[in-house]
Amino acid sequence: MAKYKYGFFMPEDNVFKAKRGLDESVVRIISNIKKEPEWMLDNRLAAYQKFLKMKMPSWGADLSGIDFANIFYYVKASQKTEKNWNDVPADIKTTYDRLGIPEAEKEYLGGVKAQYESEVVYGSLMKRFSDLGIIFCGMDEALEKYPKLVKEYFGTLIPMGDNKFAALNTAVWSGGSFIYVPKNVKVDMPLQAYFRINSANMGQFERTLMIIDEGAFVHYVEGCSAPVYSESSIHSAVVEIFVKKGARCRYTTIQNWSTNVYNLVTKRAKVETDGVMEWIDGNLGSKITMKYPSVVLVGQRAHGEILSVAVAGRGQHQDAGGKCIHLAPDTTSRIISKSISMKRGRASYRGMIMMAPGAKNARSKVVCDALILDKKSRSDTYPVNKINESEVTLEHEATVSKIGEEQIFYLMSRGFTDHEAEAMIINGFIEPIVKELPMEYSVELNRLINLQMEGSVG
């Protein structure tokens, strides 16, 4: 058993654990255990072949530390996979305490409890959703219960050969959410992954598929702002979202993986006429994150919006951003990215705007702001703007700077300490994005950034 950074071991009482490393037999075993239909197994095997052939992406963050042979690709947990609370790293526990997270949730987040004991609270909510005709379940369950729907959409937006990690996910995926919102149904409260109680939702290779039918609206919230301890060093999810005519989908992610995790995620949404897709993406944790939520605007007047916050601290490289592909007339998009680098961390914005021939009157605006808190940290901006239609408008602007001394001075002259002043300025800096988050998330996000900043240069 390899020892992980925090001294964790895989618990020995798992129902099933695939061997370390990846080969065809592991892929077959995963499919077999889940009793999947033939087409899914074929799909997995084809994706595995693609994964072998594809090269590691070399254009972004340094991924040379990933050891594919040393990873467990599938662990099916039993009910008794509880670890000892005493084994949870002290710094993570301290953070939970200071965030004021309830005891039950703490244990869940720390991986002590395999399940969140939420049946009583969320059972009634699930009923409300199903009364509206909403399907909200795990991907495995969806494949069993709604095979036609899954087969129709699965992998059509992010094909297995899209990139090496999409291929890996397609080969070994397990867990993730499936959501179908029927025509004209507007869900008035956010769907959150942890409503779903009977499946582990924070897997390594989650696969999420959402279909938002005409005129419907949904807000989906994934992850949580409190640190999530993961034993595995790789998290590679794929999220496909279909936004039909006139529908709107908002997808909020706050990622705070422990700093041993490579977080390599492919997220894409296809938006039809008059549809709206909004990605709100917060990256706080992980060792390396490469994640560029994308919006493909295929219908007239479709709108895409990406709001991204990245905080890179010690040993971290956050390579995040967004992509908007304009394929139809009158489509609009907006990307706002805010990043903070500190303690030798590196934050990069990487994004793309593409306007195809015929996308007349398309408009796009990209704004990237970055703060560097100390002189050892680094910030980059790598935008690509391809304009292949002349009747369009594109605006792009980016600024990198430190916190203004006069701002700090002003606040200190009003009686705040330098640390308080810095924290206030940073909260103000990310405010345009934080205000879009559900309330409990925005409060936690601000507190977390303040915690991370402790000990950084004032």
Binding site: R378, E391, V392, E397
Partner: protein, 134 residues
């Protein structure tokens, strides 16, 4: 890709029909207190193609740098194409670096104004382009 010295400069291109112009430059800040502002203005005619790729690189020891890079592109014809990639690589904090890029068409109000003064469309466009590149 060329490496350039830190200066304030304005670069102008008129990309004619069927032409392809590529500007690819890294502007390196490697000493204390350097200031620079680079602007590239370009007009792309029908079936012209332009690529602007510029990077501001501020090295670890370039304290007090103040860098700015601006791309302004006007697309004239139906099949005018442009790619604008303004990049930043900032390795220290006591600096300020910004870039801005805009791609658009001729302002119809400007065109309308000139035409209302009795100048024909072709001539009006020519005047606007000249002013843009002036």
């Amino acid at each position: 890709m060329t490496k350039s010295q830190i200066t304030n400069k304005i670069i102008k291109y008129l990309v004619k029909k069927g032409e392809r112009v590529v500007w690819d430059e890294v502007i390196v800040y490697d000493k204390n207190n350097l200031e620079g502002e680079t602007e590239v203005r370009a007009v792309v005619e029908d079936e012209g193609s332009l690529k602007l790729k510029g990077k501001i690189l501020i090295q670890k020891d370039a304290i007090g740098a103040n860098a700015f890079l601006r791309f302004k592109v006007l697309l004239l014809g139906k099949n005018a194409r442009a790619e604008v990639d303004p990049e930043l690589e900032i390795l220290t904090n006591d600096v300020r670096a910004s870039h801005a890029a805009s791609v658009g068409q001729i302002d119809l109000e400007q065109l309308f104004y000139l035409m209302s003064r009795g100048i024909n469309k072709k001539e009006s466009i020519k005047l606007i382009v000249e002013a843009f590149l002036a």
